[in-house]
Point group: C2
Chain length 218, copies 2
DNA sequence: TGGCCCAGAATATGATCAAATTCCTCCATG
DNA sequence: CATGGAGGAATTTGATCATATTCTGGGCCA
């Protein structure tokens, strides 16, 4: 039937592969804010055809990860203070909702999985591994959102993450892995106690801390 | 080859025209929930080429207006109770923020424009004009969001509207234009008084009333 | 009922056309 | 004589199309 979930990723459509490849580049900082993104450049880099790359770009633009300038040019958005403020407002409004839902629904095995990711995250911080931190941090929140079982809210929040991914990468490149937001311990204990209120608060603190970091680097 | 042979040739690229056409169909109920959407059907309907239609569909899918089934099929999403609950949560979390911002920024001319739209909306309700109501209601909220000058929040909220557009059309077709949400008067007076708190409350009431209507029709 | 085959639709490719930026040249002016 | 700007050609990039290929779904037959 479905031949998805193939290890290695080969076997799913080319435009889907191109999309995930590009999205990971945006999320984990392979692309810098303000950098122009050309179709033909991506075609050469990824080896994919032109049409799949185009469709991947359209999807990313629709999600806000990239922006189409009027003159058929595509760039990675540069965030100004107003944009960071908006993103902070949106994240503060939405992500605590997901945390609260997760607190109601999380089972022991999901919490253990989250704890394992958080441990890997701490290890990445300890060894100053910025890409590792970004990746594990994203995995933590992504996994938490999956627990919340709210696909619409999750997709909206994923779109927000795509918007500040490049800038977060820049910040981490500047300040290293020190002073990074990590309210995950509070979050995990709140989840274990099924305390939606505390989970919500911890998430809000984590979000505000992270966005303040970006805001301070402008 | 020939591009001027088509009547009504606007200056916009074909994929942009196809996108707006399709988006309006979703927003104003030309497509029913659950209805399959085929590329070649759109090609025949709109007269556009295949590639622009494909890109428009990708954008709409990325925004949540349409959903890609795993099997290369695309349909208009059918909302269940959980989806409506999520959409309600998201709208209640975000749209009052926009209303509050608008209350701080609205000038007399913007308020007059909103009042004019609301008058046209009342007229549409009075004459039982469902498409007119949908159009004016969307124009009202869209204009209000423009006043708030928050492009990121606005684009997120626009995505939410795309998700419940088809279902709202179904509801209005069932119950007519009676009992439709219209807290716009409260909203307008709050805006005129620059009362962000009251604007926020009025928006929350409008959102909850509208979503309750959809929720009740399941 | 279960497997095979076929029609039809979606995906992917490359070619071709159009637009925009860039860079170069040339002329006017200080 | 040098410099700066306007204009135009060339290159780079994006948009569209026609077509080949692949995959899904349903009908047919054993």
């Amino acid at each position: 039937m479905n031949k998805e979930a193939e290890p290695g990723g080969t076997g799913l459509p080319a435009h889907e592969r191109a999309y995930r490849d590009l999205r990971d580049r945006v999320l984990f900082g392979a692309l810098a804010p303000g950098q122009p993104v050309t179709i033909q450049g991506l075609v050469e880099d990824t080896g994919a055809g032109m049409t799949p790359v185009r469709e991947a770009l359209r999807r990313l633009c629709a999600e806000g990860a990239l922006q189409m300038l009027g003159n058929r040019r595509i760039t990675v958005p540069e965030l100004d203070a107003a944009a960071v403020a908006e993103l902070t407002e949106a994240r503060v409004a939405l992500e605590p909702l997901l945390a609260a839902r997760a607190a109601h629904l999380a089972g022991p095995e999901e919490i253990d999985a989250l704890r394992a990711i958080d441990t890997a995250l701490d290890a990445a911080i300890a060894r100053g591994d910025v890409p590792g931190y970004l990746k594990q941090n994203h995995r933590f929140h992504s996994r938490l959102n999956a627990v919340a079982a709210a696909p619409i809210l999750t997709s909206v929040v994923d779109g927000l993450w795509l918007r500040f991914g490049p800038s977060l990468r820049v910040v981490c490149g500047q300040v290293g892995t020190r002073n990074l937001p990590d309210r995950h311990k509070d979050l995990l204990t709140a989840l274990a106690r099924r305390d939606a209120q505390a989970a919500s608060e911890a998430m809000r603190a984590d979000v505000e801390q992270g966005m303040a970091l970006i805001s301070a680097s402008l």
